[in-house]
């Protein structure tokens, strides 16, 4: 049985861009990666609040007033950098591909590749 070709061509690396507008796939993927990070954070926060609440140790006002020391501040910076790396990963990939393949105009429209 002969194979039916896909309506939106795949790239050589088996990846696919569904939108013709350059960058739109990346934008969607960035949003999904961000949502994943947010879900993990919400989950962790929920766990912490439940554990601390069970122990009678949580005071929401104290959390609001919290001043991090140097070590905690550094940890928070690392966390923020990690989140940023994750969110920007699709764009980072795009930039890497650009370095290898050159400008869009020389490659044709994404869905035609």
């Amino acid at each position: 049985m002969s194979k039916i070709p896909p309506p939106i061509s795949k790239r050589e690396d088996d990846g696919v861009r569904f939108f013709e507008t350059p960058g739109l796939d990346m934008l969607y993927r960035t949003c999904l990666a961000l949502a994943e990070e947010l879900a993990v954070t919400q989950d962790r926060l929920d766990t912490l609040e439940r554990v601390l609440s069970q122990r009678g140790q949580i005071d929401p006002e104290e959390v609001d007033r919290f001043e991090p020391d140097a070590h905690a501040e550094n940890q928070k910076r690392i966390m923020a950098a990690r989140l940023s790396e994750h969110v920007l990963a699709p764009i980072k990939d795009l930039v890497k591909q650009y370095e290898v393949r050159g400008p869009e105009a020389e490659r044709g429209r994404p869905h035609e590749r």
Partner: protein
């Protein structure tokens, strides 16, 4: 023994990875609902425009895949699948030494199962690069003689995917076939059973539990799948003999089994491999023996052009090599060509215990003598 059976080869992901898996599950589930809703809507417009008849498949493909909304749904489906594998692979990576050591010790357990790998199985070229369902490294992934990653990915991915679809949580595929057999042949007590395309062995084990007097053999083409399947079955404590063999060329003598089964294997085979599996089923069964091949009830002929175009996503963008072949296959005809008496063939959708969906069961009894007719 449904999907939630616990054993030592399963990972215990960190809370962070569990949170990612929960999110991916929710994302895939929401994406799936959106896809169904949108396809229903496109289908209604397409049909209303008088394009619902047969022969409009290409028009439906052009229409559906040019809609920005559908492209967004496709993207979420594809990205969700990739995120799922990332979250599962990270959980497996964190426990690789433990999983390898469980595999190494599996043979020492007094269970009675075995693992038989070989290097002379010939496979179609497409399998060397195939990433079915986008599974990282594909089914043939083999990172060394202790490697079990392909099996771990298959089982953990399958479990998460099925939970997302709400499938098999109350009754596994094998349990469904066993229930079908009890209805179809109430006195049937197989002594030797063969599971073709066993992957991680999750469907092989229930037969050994349901028919404790029987000897259960299971075959697949992936070494990493089979190592995992062996360690898994030994961990559960159920004897299964796993072999590296292709469905097209099974190295057992004629008439050596009472029951031959496969689970979700037909849709991953080319038409010729599927026919070869039917032929081998006939050859391997003794007179009075039965084969039951289970898979998804996907029939192109029963779908509108828009729905046909929609399910092609899995062949084009989700690594299903032979989805369109399978959707147009005729199991009844294939079993007849293999030699089964048409009156002894039963191909039909069979509902799961919880009635959430049906599996297609292609079943046949070998009523004729052992020689190929």
């Amino acid at each position: 023994m449904a999907r939630n059976v616990q054993h030592e080869m399963l990972t215990s992901p960190s809370s962070r990875i569990r949170a990612r898996q929960r999110f991916v599950l929710a994302l895939k589930s929401s994406g799936e609902q959106l896809r169904r809703q949108l396809v229903g809507s496109v289908d209604a417009h397409f049909s209303a425009a008088g394009k619902g008849a047969e022969g409009n498949f290409q028009q439906a493909v052009s229409k559906l895949y040019s809609e920005d909304e559908y492209r967004a749904v496709c993207l979420v489906k594809r990205a969700g699948q990739e995120m799922m594998w990332n979250a599962i692979e990270d959980a497996i990576d964190a426990e690789l030494p433990r999983l390898r050591s469980l595999f190494e010790d599996a043979g020492k357990r007094d269970v009675g199962g075995s693992l038989n790998l070989r290097d002379d199985v010939s496979l179609p070229d497409e399998w060397t690069t195939a990433r079915v369902h986008l599974q990282p490294g594909g089914y043939l992934r083999d990172d060394g003689d202790r490697d079990v990653v392909a099996g771990a990915l298959y089982e953990e991915g399958g479990a998460l995917y099925s939970r997302g679809q709400g499938v098999g949580t109350k009754e596994s595929k094998a349990e469904c076939i066993i229930r079908f057999l009890k209805e179809w042949k109430p006195d049937f007590q197989p002594r030797r059973i063969l599971d073709i395309g066993c992957s991680a062995g999750a469907s092989s084990v229930p037969y050994a539990s349901a028919f404790p007097e029987a000897e259960v053999h299971a075959i697949d083409i992936g070494k990493g799948l089979l190592r995992y399947a062996h360690a898994r079955a030994q961990s559960i404590g159920v004897p299964v003999h796993f072999h590296e063999m292709s469905a097209e060329q099974i190295s057992f003598p004629d008439g050596s089994f009472d029951l031959v089964v496969s689970h979700n294997a037909m849709h991953e085979m080319s038409s010729s491999t599927q026919q070869a599996m039917f032929n081998e089923s006939f050859r391997l069964l003794r007179r009075g023996g039965v084969c039951v091949h289970q898979d998804l009830p996907v029939k192109f002929a029963e779908m509108s052009p828009v729905r046909q175009a929609d399910i092609m996503f899995d062949e084009w963008y989700n690594g299903e090599l032979h989805w369109s072949d399978y959707a147009q296959t005729d199991c009844q005809a294939g079993l007849e060509v293999a030699g089964f008496d048409p009156a002894a063939i039963d191909c039909k959708p069979f509902p799961l215990l919880d009635k959430t969906m049906s599996w297609l069961l292609a079943a046949a009894e070998k009523t004729v003598a052992d020689e190929m007719s």
